[in-house]
Amino acid sequence: MLFGVLYFFVPLLGTFEFSLRYLRGVYSLEAYRIVLADPRFGATVTYSTALALATIVVGVVLVVPTAYWIQLRLPGLRPVVEFITLLPLVIPAIVLVFGYLRIYNSSSLLPLTGSERTTDLLLIFSYVTLALPYMYRAVDTGLRAIDVRSLTEAAQSLGAGWPMILFRVIFPNVRVAVLSGAFLTFAIVIGEFTMASLLDRPAFGPYLQLMGANRAYEPSALAIISFGITWACMGLIQVFGRGAHGQVAGAH
């Protein structure tokens, strides 16, 4: 335990302490001021946040109905789908992005890299792939906690069609699980480097790398800030998870 704490926190404290030493002889937040004043910081964080939100929307729309349908009608396919969702963990991002570039380059049938907007689209889809293991697992766990089949059939017998069942009955009952998946997705997307860099998009990950290569104190400040963002996401998962515990328990 103590070893673990030291292993994680000593480098972090070292980085934090280093980030405060921008001005010789005194501790100051000068490095943070410079980072926050840099227009590229704001621009890349905004860009990555927008892409993260889009990734969450696409991911949720893709994963929730899929996981629901597999649980309800195709339980035999569950191992296959679990395997597919795990693939992004074993296939390196660089392999994925080279695959994308080969299939969607500007001289291909579907030239997604032809313009900035369509490249953004491609980046969103690649982020959805990267976040798939986390999003799928979160949603699947949420669905297993409720009696999907009975709830669906109860709603059907009361006259509800599929959209009504999905949005009024299933979705609200896996809200917490979806939110966990969403925050994990956000944390992954905000610091992602490989995809954004190779697709040449102005995301926060490549900006971190650029600063790291050219500056001394600012990268440490940035590292602390991105840790802060990730931890905030984790904290929010905890907050929402606890808030709805009673509701999920009520499903049993």
Binding site: D147, Q156, G159
Partner: protein, 357 residues
């Protein structure tokens, strides 16, 4: 005229046949129970009526309309599940009003109907609670109210009381019957609990291995079981094996003692091994007046069950259980005591012989 008609229904899953040639006509306002052990096809039949399963063949007609291929949300059939299946994200009132909201009824009408339903299930003050704040019995009442709120043509209940404890089960089943009578709603009730089926139903459908064994009133099913399965599944039963001595007179020899059955042996042959059934409550201890059957045996066991005392008497290979009503002045027989038991001729039910099954 039949309100709900189930015609030659069949359901096959890969290698197994879950439901085989089920045929049933239910009149309007009737309470029919499907009773049978696990895996007998009762729930599958109910799910086909609800539209959750498609039959392999056969048809279902509701009020003269063929609904066999209609999706569940267009059948106007109310369903109550064993697991309650209340929507955890909605309050009791929202749960009860869900079907009406789906049907786009005006808010005022929904409010009024929800109040009516909550009064019907005697939980008028719990509209704002969430399902997890209710007991199991309360949750199942809300599920019943939710199913009834849409004024369905048929109410289907799939083992609704199985998850509840014994006292609540008895209270709630009476409540279900009272509400059903009050509303006059045609009801199909699936259960594996014979007491539930016997006490609630107008008619019972006994199922085994996907087939209907017998359809009849609780009285008919209990007193005149048509097959050995029905006889053994419903109520406690003594099965005695003997040899046919005189088919015309209904005479059988059981462990060397003569017994007369008033019917059911006409087609049997002399010397054939046959089984007869006897309900424990029809057998009395000691000599009875008249020309009933008498057998001599030894008391093997005496079990005190509260309102009744069950005495087991052994002849030779066969044994018989009989029930005595408990009262404080009852003198109980001792184990090993020689006794005479008697029972009327018409109480001896000849079951199908192995060769005729």
């Amino acid at each position: 005229m039949a309100f709900l008609e189930i015609e030659n229904l069949q359901k096959k899953f890969a290698q197994t046949t879950a439901v085989e040639h089920v045929q049933l006509e239910v009149t309007r306002g009737e309470f029919v129970s499907f009773l049978g052990p696990s895996g007998c096809g009762k729930t599958t039949t109910l799910r086909i009526i609800a539209g959750f399963e498609a039959p392999s063949s056969g048809a279902i007609r509701l009020d003269g309309v063929d609904i066999t291929h209609r999706p569940p949300h267009q059948r106007h059939v109310g369903m109550v599940f064993q697991s309650y299946a209340l929507f955890p994200n909605m309050t009791v009132a929202q749960n009860v009003g869900f079907g009406l909201k789906v049907a786009k009824k005006p808010a005022a009408l929904i409010k009024q109907r929800v109040e009516e339903m909550l009064n019907l299930i005697k939980l008028p003050a719990l509209g704002n609670r969430y399902p997890h704040q209710l007991s199991g019995g309360q949750q199942q009442r809300v599920a019943l109210a939710r199913a009834l709120a849409i004024q369905p043509q048929v109410l289907l209940l799939d083992e609704p009381l199985s998850a509840l404890d014994a006292k609540i089960r008895v209270a709630l089943r009476q409540e279900i019957r009272t509400i059903q009578r009050e509303l006059g709603i045609t009801t199909i009730y699936v259960t594996h609990d014979q007491e539930e089926a016997l006490s609630l139903s107008d008619r019972i459908v006994i199922m085994s291995e996907g087939r209907v064994e017998q359809i009849g009133t609780p009285f008919e099913i209990y007193n005149f079981p048509r097959t050995s399965f029905v006889a053994s599944f419903v109520g406690t039963l003594n099965i005695l094996r003997g040899q046919v001595a005189d088919p015309a007179r209904g005479k059988i020899v059981i462990d060397g003692q003569e017994v007369i059955a008033s019917r059911g042996l006409k087609d049997a042959r002399v010397g054939e091994v046959c089984s007869v059934a006897l309900r424990p409550e029809i057998v009395s201890l000691g000599e009875a007046a008249g020309d009933g059957n008498r057998m001599q045996g030894t008391v093997e066991d005496v079990n005190f069950l509260g309102s009744i005392v069950r005495v087991r008497v052994r002849f030779k290979d066969n044994a018989i259980s009989l029930d005595l009503f408990n009262n404080p002045s009852l003198s109980l027989p001792q184990r090993g005591q020689a006794v005479t038991v008697s029972f009327p001729r018409e109480a001896v039910l000849a079951l199908e012989t192995a060769s005729s099954m």
